[in-house]
């Protein structure tokens, strides 16, 4: 579900777009890119119908800078790169799964505990004559079904589908019967019968078609089934048919003493949704309890931390790509699924476009230098010269030595220290509720001049605090360090020393400050507390004096760490081998992922934005002038006219098909992979 098959297919064809992208990377590609490229493709198609694909490939290669590189044992390297990609992506994927599972686990445990608590409450009103088809005459309070509401915090529930499946598995492996009902089961079309059928089929795989509650009851009565609660998971409650769901709940509530059913309901929006969906008489039958999933942003933060910063994968993204992914996540549907899709696409593009990308897995090796020198020796001359011709290498030019492996090792070391520093920043970010994604984007920015960013921080803290909001997230974090109370400062430094353990130079500095903070607090905490109680203000003022000093010390430490070690990957030689920077081609491919239908309105919008951005000054003028309204409407007409003309041209060339009657606001794209 997470990755469409088309993404994987892309791998083989993507050399084209990647190579393509290198010369248009400054252009910002979007849908209408079709406009520029179409004629060439069109001609090509005509001339080469059968072997078009291969020929085109060669064409593209000829125009690319790495044509010579590619000619030689092209196939072998492609194979190696493919392997490297698979290796890397599977690493990333498993990390992601691990992280997400870890995040959900606490929730699962809570739910599990709650389920068993509810189960025991049901059980303590012990069931009699379970086979009887008539209701047990007991208090009305015993007729309520315990129901957990899981607020998924995102109106899109793609991410949560997996989560609910996992939950089912978790419940089953922890002593519950579990069934999973989707909105499709609870629809008017099929009625209540299909709910029961689906429920029973999941409990008893070889069930027949006609199911009623007594049947479930008699199944439940068997000795091997009897001691477990039945958890019924409904993943997206809002989409269920309210009448059927209400009947279902009423029916089961009559049986809850005999069949201890416990609902777990996924709610994508808010509690109001439930209130609107179910009539009050049904709400009475539910004994609700609320659980909340980690918000998408928090989930994203942990993903960023484990996948991109602690990076055990050997694949990195450039600043622009990171920024794009951030926006894509925040403004788009906010699902991990779409983020991963974009990341995978980036990964694919990187490994297919970068000739030396097969060196990436070296990042993971214990003895990376040995791995790399082994690889580098067998490297063809062409590739070697390609590596040293990389812009980053040319720029650096410090290398008297021509040792690629050493360069790569250095890169690895720099990257390691970079990620250690970023992790330290994250720790601060967690304390002050700054999104880690923002810190990450700032830390990865190659244009980030540490001096400038920190400039204000070197001033006394009180003057700096006013500007800190503008100073970006990193300076906010530093400011936070200055303001921390002493005990959390101590904790923070403890965390830091964990993160910096592997980089010796850093470790020394952190340890020094940490011990400075630890020493006085170790001996005096208890004493000091007492003195505060007894002598009041005297002791506390002494404490006040002490804390800012330590805070300053910690902040200075952070600043010095940032200065020394926060080297964004894009300013390191050879980073091109590991780092994907081509945001344009990523955007383009993502746009293509949406399929062949183009929404006219969207298309027009992106067209307009493009046209307007090309001359922002003119636009501004229009906006501010007193006669803005007229000017604006005229400009608008102009745009619409341009747009219409362009679309018509495309239609005439046969690249798009006109809207059909059924979907009047959609065009069909006919040309792909231009």
């Amino acid at each position: 579900m997470v990755h469409s098959p088309s993404t994987t297919c892309d791998f083989h064809s993507s050399p084209i777009s990647a190579a393509n992208a290198s010369d248009v990377s400054d252009n910002n590609l979007q849908h209408f890119f079709v406009l520029h490229k179409a004629p060439a493709r069109k001609c090509e198609r005509k001339t080469s119908s059968t072997y078009g694909r291969t020929k085109r490939k060669i064409d593209m290669l000829l125009s690319s800078p790495m044509k010579v590189v590619q000619e030689e044992n092209d196939a072998i390297y492609e194979q190696v790169r493919l392997e490297a990609f698979e290796n890397t992506w599977s690493k990333i994927n498993s990390t992601v799964k691990e992280v997400l599972r870890e995040i959900n686990l606490t929730l699962f445990e809570e739910i599990h505990q709650w389920v068993f608590e509810s189960f025991s409450t049901i059980r303590c009103t012990s069931p009699v004559h379970i086979m009887k088809p008539y209701p047990i005459a007991a208090g009305a309070t015993c007729k309520t079904i315990p129901a957990a509401l899981i607020f998924t915090k995102n109106i899109e529930f793609v991410d949560d589908m997996l989560m609910f499946q996992d939950l089912k598995g978790y419940m089953q492996s922890n002593g519950c019967h579990a069934a999973f009902l989707s909105a499709l089961d609870i629809s008017t079309k099929c009625g209540i019968g299909s709910c029961l059928r689906s429920l029973y089929k999941q409990l008893v795989p070889e069930a027949s078609d006609v199911v009623d509650v007594p049947l479930i009851a008699s199944w439940y009565c068997k000795d091997e089934n009897y001691d477990k609660p039945i958890a019924v998971i409904i993943e997206d409650m809002e989409r269920c048919d309210s009448a059927v769901l209400a009947d279902f709940i009423k029916m089961l509530s009559e049986w809850v003493m005999k069949i201890p059913i416990i609902f777990i309901l996924g709610v994508t929006t808010s509690f109001d949704a439930l209130r609107k969906l179910l009539p009050s008489s049904v709400m009475h039958k539910l004994q609700l309890c609320k659980f909340t999933l980690e918000s998408p942003r928090r989930r994203m933060d942990s993903l960023i931390e484990y996948v991109l910063v602690r990076s055990s994968s050997g694949f990195f993204i450039g600043h622009k790509v990171a920024f794009f992914l951030r926006n894509h996540f925040l403004r788009h549907d906010g699902t991990i699924t779409s983020f991963l899709k974009a990341l995978k696409l980036a990964c694919i593009k990187h490994f297919s476009g970068e000739p030396l990308s097969f060196l990436c897995p070296g990042m993971l090796h214990e003895d990376c230098e040995a791995f790399w020198s082994g690889k580098c020796e067998s490297l063809s001359e062409v590739l070697r010269s390609y590596a040293f011709d990389l812009p980053s290498c040319q720029r650096g030019k410090t290398n008297g030595d021509n040792n690629l492996a050493q360069g790569l090792s250095k890169l690895k070391w720099l990257q390691k220290s970079w990620s250690s520093v970023v992790l330290c920043l994250f720790e601060v970010g967690k304390l002050s509720k700054i999104q880690l994604l923002d810190i990450f984007c700032e830390a990865i920015d190659p244009t980030l001049c540490i001096e400038r960013a920190l400039g204000q921080q070197l001033l006394p803290p009180f003057t700096a605090s006013h500007d800190s909001v503008n100073g970006g997230f990193i300076s906010q974090a530093i400011q936070k360090v200055r303001e921390l109370p002493s005990d959390s400062l101590c904790q923070l430094l403890g965390q830091w020393s964990l993160h910096t353990e592997e980089v010796i130079e850093m470790d020394k500095e952190v340890k020094a400050v940490h011990s400075m903070i630890n020493l006085p607090s170790d001996g005096h905490t208890s004493k000091e507390k007492q003195t505060v109680n007894i002598h009041g203000c005297l002791a506390s003022s002494a404490r006040k004096k002490g804390t800012p000093f330590l805070n300053d010390e910690a902040a200075m430490l952070l600043v010095s760490l940032l200065r020394k070690f926060l080297v964004p990957i894009e300013s390191v030689p050879f980073h091109e081998i590991f780092c994907f920077k081509d945001v344009a081609s990523l955007k383009y491919s993502l746009a293509q992922e949406y399929g062949d239908l183009i929404n006219l309105h969207d298309w027009y919008h992106s067209f307009k934005t493009k046209v307007l951005i090309s001359n922002p000054k003119a636009k501004r003028k229009v906006q501010h002038s007193p006669a803005s309204k007229k000017g604006k409407s005229k400009a608008l007409e102009n745009e619409v006219a341009r747009f219409c003309k362009a679309v018509t041209e495309l239609q005439i060339t046969g690249l798009v098909r006109m809207p059909s009657k059924r979907r009047p606001d959609f065009l069909q794209r006919i040309a792909f992979h231009l």
Binding site: M131, A137, A140, G193, T269, S281, L288, H332
Partner: protein, 537 residues
């Protein structure tokens, strides 16, 4: 109703309140009801109430305020082996109908078949359920599964039912002859009880099922069969359906305040304390609902709250203490009165949680939820689309032209210059719009408004960017995703609903179902000036 009342009689049954009181002493049959040995016994006793029979006195005392109805039913059911006319028992929901019948048969100790139309959600299931219960009884243990054939049609059902009934009655006769004076004579009558009869009317596909079941006594023409219908709707609801003899009706009236007091006072650990609690709580809640189930769900958490300050729950409260306890309860009382139907169930659990363990971060109060932050993620374009839907639903279509100019911008209305007269007229118009509820709109209008509001904000955002001097990204608001995809997302979340197609245009119309509070929250999250787009004063 008196569902609480049953407790002392049946050793196996306990509510939470009673379980503390009575040490559990389950009858041996109930301890392992599923072992193979008892299962066959279970089958054999299928047609009887499985509990110990009760005396008339306990029957009546277990169902407070239902004495006249019980006696009436007993009279109509008649003595052993006397045929009876069909009975229709009706009255409001949660009124003690079902429990009365079940208890009566426990007292009579005669065989019966119970079919609840809620559990048996389709005719086929209903037929099946009735037949299975009869066949379980009628069949010889040696013969094995003789009648597992499923029946689909009403006519088949009648045939099978007749066969099954005759079998069962014969079996009863045999048994009575065999046992002689050893066992109590249970008679030769079999009673069919159809509960939740009112639900049958909504099985519209089989509109003939109601008349069929109402006439079943006539059709079968077996005097040894008694039929009892239980319904929460009045007999008028069925008159149209039948051409047969009307069943004899027995009405269960709603409980009065005193009745409810009596019901809730049963089996209390500390009657004095509970009585003082009821004197505070019952009256205000009685105005809202008289259903025992709803009331007992509502009272349970409130009583916990009421008792919280008490160390010893067996204390007999004096006047001062009562007043103190009441003051303590009052804030919760008003809250739960307002939210009787919804939130109470949720708070009830919460209270239990707090009382039990003081853990889990699920203790977000309902008030907090009403803060003005949106607590779930929505994409930018979904937010804009939702707002445009809200605008389209709130404003009438004719007002669009006055709100948006030709280029999509917002016209600044000058409000000060209006005369009093036109103000008044506008006021009444706005009120009318509010009273009418959300209006429906076609897709085209939604998209038009969407385009207008996004074009305005887009230009605003861009401007900001240039002023900041940081043109980092060319992406403006990020409205690149598929609008129709977003629309379906919103439909799934029940924020927008499809409201049937317009008979003239034939296209689907939509309606925005969110309230203003929510819309304001969404608008706030994207800094959208919603109020200037809404037509009012």
């Amino acid at each position: 109703m008196a569902k609480d009342g049953v407790i002392p009689l049946s050793p196996g049954r306990k509510t939470r309140s009673s379980s503390q009181l009575l040490p559990s002493k389950p009858s041996p049959q109930n301890v392992y009801p599923f072992s193979s040995q008892t299962q066959s016994q279970e089958l054999f006793h299928c047609l009887y109430s499985s509990e110990e029979p009760i005396s008339l006195a306990t029957l009546i005392s277990s169902l407070p305020r239902r004495k006249p109805q019980i006696l009436e039913i007993l009279r109509l059911v008649g003595s052993l082996n006397s045929p009876m006319f069909p009975l229709l028992i009706y009255g409001g929901p949660s009124n003690g109908k079902t429990i009365s019948i079940l208890q009566i048969f426990r007292y009579l100790n005669r065989p019966f078949v119970y079919a609840g139309c809620r559990t048996c959600y389709a005719p086929r299931i209903l037929f099946d359920s009735v037949l299975r219960q009869l066949l379980l009884h009628g069949r010889n243990p040696i013969k094995g599964n003789s009648g597992t054939k499923r029946c689909e049609k009403p006519s088949e059902f009648i045939d099978l039912l007749r066969i099954a009934l005759v079998q069962a009655i014969n079996a009863l006769r045999e048994k009575n002859l065999k046992s002689g004076s050893e066992e109590v004579d249970r008679g030769e009558m079999i009673y069919l009880i159809f509960d939740n009869f009112e639900l049958l009317r909504s099985w519209d596909k089989n509109s003939n099922i109601v008349p069929l079941l109402l006439r079943i006594h006539e059709i079968l023409k077996i005097p040894e069969v008694g039929i009892i219908y239980i319904s929460s709707s009045t007999p008028d609801a069925y008159y149209l359906c039948t051409g047969s003899i009307e069943p004899i009706t027995i009405y269960f009236p709603d409980y009065t305040l005193e009745d409810l007091h009596g019901i809730f006072m049963r089996n209390q650990l500390n009657p004095k304390l509970y009585s003082s609690f009821l004197s505070v709580v019952l009256k205000p809640f009685f105005r809202v609902t008289r259903r025992v189930d709803e009331l007992s769900v509502a009272f349970q958490p409130l009583f916990q709250k009421y008792c919280k300050p008490l160390v010893d729950r067996s204390v007999v409260p004096d006047e001062a203490m009562k007043r103190k306890l009441f003051d303590n309860l009052q804030p919760y009382l008003t809250v739960s009165l307002n939210d009787l139907f919804m939130v109470l169930s949720w708070t009830s659990h919460q209270i239990k949680q707090e009382g039990d363990h003081q853990k889990k971060g699920i203790r977000k109060s309902n008030r907090k939820e009403a803060s003005n932050e949106l607590d779930f993620h929505m994409s930018m374009s979904a937010k804009y689309l939702l707002l445009s839907a809200f605008i389209a639903s709130r404003n009438s279509a004719t007002l669009d032209a006055s709100l948006f100019d030709s280029s999509g911008g917002l016209i600044n209305r000058k409000r000060n210059k209006n005369s009093q007269m036109s103000m008044d007229r506008k006021d009444s118009m706005a009120e009318e719009i509010l009273l009418k509820g959300p209006g429906s709109f076609p897709l085209e209008r939604l998209l038009a408004i969407f385009q207008c509001i996004t074009s305005v904000t887009e230009s605003m955002v861009e401007e900001e960017k240039y002023e900041n001097g940081a043109a980092i990204e060319s992406e403006s608001v990020g409205l690149t995703s598929d609008v129709l995809l977003q629309l379906s997302t919103l439909c799934n979340a029940n924020f927008i609903c499809k409201s049937g197609s317009c008979p003239l245009e034939g296209s689907t119309r939509y309606r925005c179902t969110i309230d203003e509070e929510m819309a304001v929250r969404v608008a706030k999250s994207i800094n959208f000036p919603l109020s200037s787009y809404l037509y009012r004063r």
